[in-house]
């Protein structure tokens, strides 16, 4: 039996071995040997405490907080994320990995991923490790993985029956099917910025090139579709709106709730996550101590807010 199993010819085995060796060799060259064992707990505790204190006491943070209280009447930031103000689930990326926050505020760590985004209907998450693209369920169950070097900015787009994932890998822009198959190069000189799928399309991708130009392409044919840059890519409307509602401050790019009524705005200098009602009457809810809630030394990224149940 062993002999027969060993004799089965696998097409392209030699090429596969050399491709794999190139990836493994590159990963090995980039690897940082682990430091000698020592406890990080005291350092992490001090770092978290410093971040929290800096957020509360720094003059800009305090000034902005005062202004917010004056303008929109926020009384006190909640000490923890108890619930979301609108239906859906938040995807948060922190130093500790990617987290899903349910509407009732319960949090789940999906794993040690450095970037993540929702699939178009929120049934899956695509996330990246340094040399791996991973598709998983919101419960953290890995559905497939793809080994590629230096994976960044995975973005999942499409319809319910036809999806693609665009991502950067080692300075190139690549596309792979939602089932992890058909991985291919799209552009060898993309800019260092997350690509964007045209809503409802698994074929039209908008991305920046290294020379600063913006491309709108059909990923299946490679054809450039439009010369004019769609406003959806460059628009800072939600960020402007956040500034209008919150006042001055160094805010992270907001994400909009699935019902379109709320913005979730990261406010790193105050270590707060602020929910702002952008439609109808102005309301504001602030949540403090965000970094420590996501076991992160730096302020987490709010990667998405998805989706309305059907």
């Amino acid at each position: 039996m062993r002999k027969r199993l060993e004799q089965i010819e696998i097409p392209g085995e030699h090429e596969a071995r050399e491709r794999s060796w190139a990836v493994v060799r590159a990963a090995f060259a980039e690897r940082e040997p682990a430091p000698r064992r020592r406890s990080w707990k005291p350092i992490a505790a001090v770092a978290v405490a410093l971040v929290a204190v800096a957020g509360l006491l720094s003059p800009p943070g305090r000034a902005v907080l005062d202004e917010i209280r004056e303008v929109v009447g926020v009384e006190q930031a909640q000490p923890a994320l108890f619930s979301l103000p609108a239906p859906g689930r938040l995807l948060v990326t922190a130093d500790s990995g990617a987290w899903v926050v349910d509407e009732d505020g319960s949090k789940r760590l999906l794993g040690n991923y450095r970037d993540a985004s929702w699939s178009p209907f929120g049934r899956f998450v695509v996330a990246s490790r340094r040399n791996e693209l991973v598709a998983l369920t919101p419960d953290g169950e890995v559905r497939w993985t793809l080994a590629r070097p230096d994976v960044r900015f995975p973005r999942w787009g499409g319809t319910k029956t036809d999806t693609r994932i665009a991502y950067l890998s080692a300075g190139t822009l690549r596309i792979v099917g939602g089932d992890g198959k058909g991985d291919r190069l799209l552009d060898s000189r993309p800019g260092d910025r997350a690509p964007l799928w045209r809503p409802g399309s698994a074929h039209v991708l908008i991305y920046e090139r290294r020379d600063g130009s913006i491309r709108v392409v059909d990923v299946d044919t490679g054809a450039q579709l439009e010369r004019k840059v769609p406003m959806t890519f460059l628009s800072q409307d939600d960020l402007r709106l956040a500034h209008d509602l919150l006042g001055p401050g160094d805010f992270a790019p907001p994400v909009r709730s699935p019902d379109g009524k709320w913005l979730a705005v990261g406010w790193p200098e105050a270590d707060q996550l602020v929910f702002v009602r952008a439609v109808g009457g102005r309301q504001l809810r602030a949540v403090a101590n965000v970094s420590s809630q996501f076991r992160s030394r730096s302020f987490p990224t709010i990667s998405g807010w998805c989706c309305l149940s059907e």
């Binding site: 010819e9 085995e13 060796w21 699939s119 099917g177 058909g182």
Partner: protein, 168 residues
């Protein structure tokens, strides 16, 4: 199962940052890891990814690896479990489906009957057959590698071999 002297030396060298150490491990273990993955998933591209991922996991965890233990079983555990996961996940459809996905490469006709008979088995049975008859682990070792009872290994082996006998 103890690690051979050469393998231990390669692991030690790789842990110290030697590229020749990791290359020796790769050249020694990749062919069987790739073949084992292929025989479970029946897709050359997926087998390539799975074997590659297993080695990337090895690179990531190299510093924590106990070099007194053999490298092969540790790698094979990752490969076979991922191959089973991949085969299950392949059934994932709906939102995750890609309508114009590349078709899997056709395997060569050589011993297509054995390959076809294997393909007819559930992935968990294929994995046990591959671990026993390609990688030559004992049922007890397979139980440990897959985290299942030894009785389950034996029953899967028996059923798998019965099915193969009928077809081949």
């Amino acid at each position: 199962m103890g690690a051979g002297r050469d393998e231990r030396a390669s692991v030690r060298a790789a842990q110290r940052g030697s590229a020749s150490g990791i290359e020796a491990l790769f050249r020694l273990h990749w062919p069987r890891a790739y073949r084992a993955a292929f025989l479970v998933v029946h897709d050359a591209a997926a087998a390539e990814d799975i074997a590659q991922e297993a080695f990337l996991a090895a690179v990531r965890n190299l510093d924590r690896f106990d070099r007194r233990r053999p490298f092969g079983p540790w790698l094979h555990r990752i490969v076979v479990n991922r191959a089973i996961d991949w085969t299950r996940a392949r059934q994932l459809r709906g939102e995750a489906e890609l309508v114009d996905a590349e078709a899997p490469a056709d395997p060569a006709p050589l011993d297509a009957s054995l390959l076809g008979a294997l393909a007819a088995l559930p992935p968990e049975h294929r994995a046990v057959i591959v671990l026993r008859h390609l990688l030559e682990y004992t049922p007890g070792e397979i139980a440990e590698l897959l985290g299942i009872p030894r009785g389950t290994v034996n029953s899967r082996l028996r059923r798998g071999l019965d099915a193969l006998k009928e077809t081949v």
